[in-house]
């Protein structure tokens, strides 16, 4: 123990001075002449870590593969990894650090709408480019963000059309109490009423909530044909267990979920969720060798039983899209890359051929999957046509359009 007063005083003052002026962040310092730095910004700690770490892994895998095949424009890509700590203000702070301190050419990252909204002003101020891999509530189109995740009309509405095709007339909406469920439900209600069907109930549970007794009682009373579930993370486990306890299994009362992927299904125990439906733009069980190659490469690097989900594939294809756009534009300047990306036309990815629309959202197909006992989803919808992304739903938000 440092007993002398002078000793302790010197140490703490020195530590303070060193810490504050050395800046922080662990990324490699300015990349040497031959490399190009890109930011990878996800929550590595906090409640969102369970979903975002695998997405970060997919991005690192893509970068590794690109470097193995000669990099981009002759330069090797160095990834600067930062932790958003499941906190929007940290995401904004780290985004500023990646761009201003580390000088990255672009950033791949974000998961919750909150983290994207917090980073938006930073990217618009610094004119950099964020590749956002997760499905979201739409109502936003910024020149500085490439939205590869599904817009509501590429996930929620196809699911609704499929449900109507199955003859379901009455709906019950259950969701976690945050932005995506509330906005998605707002859009769904408008379309359900327009199609002459009925919404029998709408319930929200706080994030991480585990008590569904009230919600299930309302469901039992309303007796809907199908439940549309926008619950997030742990709450799904509690919901399905308490539904099962009340004698309502997905086989007797169909449930269409927007936040349950292969990874979540495995954690909840497939027996619990078997027979429930999910709507994504990608399922691990999609045919095609591009998908097989990606799944094999990921499982070789991160564990044989690793589950591959929709956001992971979007993140993976984002990195390749950036590479293609940079090569087409012949430069790493975010503005040039952005313009090149929307004029790339369709390019092959593990989820099939996709392309970026002028509003910088991804044109992609939607699939409905039914969970099999082995934890994979069986594709039950016919392979529909490519869906053009519409950030602003015509019914819910008339007269709005994306002016880039």
């Amino acid at each position: 123990m440092i007993r002398t007063r002078l000793g302790t005083f010197a140490v703490s003052a020195f530590a303070l001075a060193l810490a504050s002026c050395s800046g922080s962040g662990t990324g490699s310092d300015k990349p040497a002449g031959d490399g190009v730095a890109v930011g990878v910004l996800h929550s590595l700690t906090g409640t969102m870590a369970i979903s975002e770490i695998t997405v970060k892994n997919a991005e690192m895998l893509a970068i590794e593969e690109i470097n193995a095949s000669g990099g981009v424009l002759g330069k090797s890509v160095t990834a600067v990894v930062e932790d958003g700590a499941s906190d929007p203000s940290t995401f904004a702070q780290k985004a500023a650090k990646l761009i201003e301190s580390d000088g990255v050419a672009t950033v791949f990252g974000g998961w919750t709408s909150a983290s994207r909204k917090a980073m938006l002003p930073v990217f618009e101020r610094t004119k950099n480019l964020l590749w956002y891999p997760v499905q979201f509530e739409g109502n936003e189109c910024s020149p500085n963000i490439m939205y590869s995740g599904a817009q509501p009309n590429q996930q929620a509405l196809p699911a609704l059309e499929w449900a109507m095709a199955q003859g379901h007339k009455t709906y019950f909406l259950v969701g976690s109490d945050y932005v995506y469920p509330r906005t998605a439900n707002l859009i769904l209600k408008k379309h359900i009423e327009k199609a002459g069907m009925k919404v029998l109930g709408e319930s929200y549970v706080p994030l991480g909530g585990t008590d569904f007794s009230g919600v299930i009682a309302k469901i039992q009373q309303a007796r809907p044909a199908i439940i549309i579930n926008t619950l997030n993370g742990d709450s799904n486990v509690a919901f399905f267990k308490q539904m099962q306890a009340a004698g309502l299994s997905p086989k007797t009362l169909p449930v269409m979920s927007f936040s349950i992927g292969e990874q979540e299904a495995k954690a909840m125990g497939t027996a619990l969720v078997e027979g429930s439906y999910a709507a994504w733009n990608y399922f691990q069980s999609l045919p095609g060798d591009a998908n097989a190659k990606f799944v094999a490469a990921y499982q070789k690097k991160f564990g044989a039983d690793a589950a591959i989900t929709d956001p992971m594939v979007h993140a993976y294809l984002d990195v390749y899209a950036w590479k293609a756009a940079a090569e087409k534009a012949g430069s790493f300047d975010p503005d040039a890359v952005r313009k090149a990306a929307v004029s790339l036309g369709s390019f092959a990815t593990p989820m099939g051929a996709v392309s970026f629309a002028p509003n910088q959202s991804l044109v992609q197909k939607a699939f409905i999957g039914k969970l099999k006992p082995d934890g994979q989803f069986e594709i039950v919808s016919q392979p529909g046509a490519d869906i053009q992304p519409e950030p602003y739903d015509a019914l819910a938000f008339p007269g709005k359009s994306c002016k880039l």
Partner: protein
């Protein structure tokens, strides 16, 4: 009765640490880049809140695990003003349109005026803090019970904000600000200007609290901490003293929230819930719960450490924070400041 032995009364200790901090604070804008300066300013705003905890926890024996609530009130007040300041009159912020609202809520309208917003930042947290403290203290509820109730308050407040998405921005919080009181946020001059403002408020709060703690009010607060019964039977109504101290801490937390929001450009429920409120106590425990300067150092060091460590070794960060907190609270109840003064306890 706590068997803690805090250092001798403040007046006699010769504090060298505050002058060092002031020097570092004044020198910072001249050798730090824009990003690091913004980071430091953010943590200095949090240090203001930390000093409030020294007042109520260190000297008053009142452990509040809900300071995030008042931090949030200050932050949301300035954020609502900035949201309206950039809009032509009568229009609604974007998130309200998407949440299906037809008109701006009535209680949002006054925030358009800077004067009202400033008044709200100063008055709303203080008033709510005083009301809450009085409601609990005057029924002689304190110690562990009080800490648990403040934690439940933090949870309820965060849940309420998240669930009222159409008027509070919900889980996304409020962001996308362009100007504050006419100064463009994007221009570098504003960033440095806000840094000096934060430094000035920090110094003002420091001097104010030093004076308050040295005054008879401070003496009586410490007396209430060590022997509330004895103080009550000397004819003092102890509830008003504890309530006023808690209200001052709430005011400092509100101001800290507003300043933080200006630097961070976003205020969201993730900053005001249960876990962030406990982390605020961690800064003060590590810095030194009886020393204002110690709390400032604690707030700066822990936040800087989080910023550096959590990216490099994400899995280690929680172990480090947990272990650090156990060691400090158990072996160094006087924190770093105690080390400096040589009386560990």
């Amino acid at each position: 009765m706590s068997k803690l032995v805090p250092p001798a009364p403040l007046r006699r200790a010769k504090p060298a640490l505050p002058w060092v901090l002031l020097a570092l604070g004044i020198a910072a804008p001249f050798y730090l880049g824009a990003y690091d300066l913004n980071l430091l300013a953010r943590f200095m705003a949090m240090a203001i809140l930390a000093m409030g905890l020294v007042l109520i926890w260190g000297h008053g024996g009142i452990l509040s695990l809900g300071q995030g609530v008042f931090f949030g009130l200050g932050g949301y007040a300035i954020a609502m003003h900035m949201k309206l300041a950039d809009l032509p009159a009568g229009e609604m912020p974007d998130f309200m349109v998407w949440s299906g609202r037809e008109a701006l809520p009535v209680w949002w309208e006054p925030f358009a005026s800077p004067a009202f917003a400033l008044a709200a930042i100063l008055i709303v947290p203080t008033l709510l803090g005083a009301l809450f403290a009085w409601a609990v203290f005057h029924r002689r509820v304190g110690g562990t019970y009080f800490a648990l109730i403040t934690q439940a308050l933090a949870l309820a407040f965060a849940t309420l904000i998240i669930s009222r998405q159409d008027v509070t921005g919900g889980f996304n919080g409020l962001t996308d600000f362009y100007s504050v009181f006419g100064f463009g946020l994007a221009s570098p001059g504003t960033g440095t200007g806000l840094y000096w403002l934060t430094l000035a408020v920090l110094c003002l709060a420091y001097l104010g609290l030093r004076w308050l703690l040295a005054s008879r009010f401070g003496m009586l607060l410490r007396a209430t901490r060590d022997g509330e019964n004895r103080v009550r039977f000397l004819g003092y109504a102890t509830t008003p003293f504890k309530t006023v101290a808690f209200a001052i801490a709430a005011l400092l937390a509100g101001i800290a929230g507003a300043l933080f929001t200006l630097h961070a450009g976003v205020v969201s429920p993730a900053l005001i819930g249960v876990v962030p409120s406990i982390e605020m106590v961690v800064w003060v425990a590590i810095g030194g719960r009886y020393s204002l300067a110690g709390a400032i150092v604690g707030a700066l060091l822990v936040n800087l450490a989080r910023d550096a460590v959590s990216s490099a070794f994400p899995e280690l960060w929680l172990y480090l924070m947990g272990a650090l907190f156990i060691v400090v609270v158990t072996l160094f109840p006087n924190g770093l400041a105690g080390l400096l003064k040589g009386n560990r306890a």
